[in-house]
Amino acid sequence: MTTSSTIGRGTVIRGSIRGEGDLEVEGRVEGVLDIDGDIALQDSARVRIQEGVLSGRAVSIRGAVSGSVLGSTSIVLESGARVVGDLSAPRIGIRPGGLLRGQVTTGDDGSSPPAARGRAAPRGRAPQKSATTRQAPAVAAPQRSAPQRAQAAATQRAATADKAAYAEAAATTAGRGTSKAAPAPVMPSLRKGQKGQLKKRGGK
């Protein structure tokens, strides 16, 4: 029988956490986190993976994670989640307000480590997903944010009519340093090229 574990809000662990059973993290973990059980990172959780990947069964994230995440059944980024690293699981969910900078790999091969980058284009809706999530780091990379936002918009068929307006809005909101850097007339051609390129490179 396994019991569940909790890393409380006032607790810092530097080193490795391994074993079985469910784990809830409200505090800080720096090092290794490898559990055969569900992992819940609450909004106060700060996890920095320094070796390998954060590995669990069903991984739910509301806090901050630096490092790649591997879920043997699923990963869910809830609102408030901030992840810098790759996600890999059979099922991945990103709720509105969840922020991600990294590669997303869903599907049957989700159990392979995220380190296995650069293979053939992920099938299904993986490219769309990553495109959507790439909105998140827009603030951090203003010079690339407008095309990425535009691409995300392109995936939303309903928004076709006001694409230009959306792109403009994206440029305004995202381009902190480079306000209105991307003039609207240039956007359509840039968007098409960018999209094709992204598809060929498998959502990278």
């Binding site: 396994t2 574990s5 409380g8 006032g10 607790t11 074993g19």
Partner: protein
């Protein structure tokens, strides 16, 4: 919410906390807590321990410093030196080490 290290969890490294810590699993390295530490039956601590109150029902190997007290419960096992204001050892507990109390 306190920190609970479940019975099938192994932590190697440094655990520091300012709230209650319960060890039912294994901790190797260091355990520095500004609060009470409880090592439950089956729990294993191979580390130097700092705590306000340490309660040992499992096994502790390492030097212990407690600002308030150390309670070694029946079935508990403690190997290492103890520095604490107060120490109780229950009948049936195993203890090997020096004791340093403010006399």
């Amino acid at each position: 919410m306190a920190t609970v290290i479940g019975q099938d969890i192994i932590i190697e490294g440094e655990v520091s906390s300012d709230e209650a810590v319960v060890v039912a699993g294994t901790v190797r390295g260091k355990l520095n807590v500004d609060g009470p530490v409880t090592v439950e039956a089956g729990g294993i601590v191979e580390a130097d321990v700092g705590a306000t109150v340490l309660s040992v029902g499992g096994s502790v190997t390492g030097n212990v410093t407690a600002t308030e007290r150390v309670d070694l419960l029946a079935g508990g096992r403690l190997v290492g030196d103890v520095k604490a204001a107060r120490l109780t050892i229950a009948d049936g507990a195993v203890f090997k080490g020096n004791v340093d109390m403010d006399v």
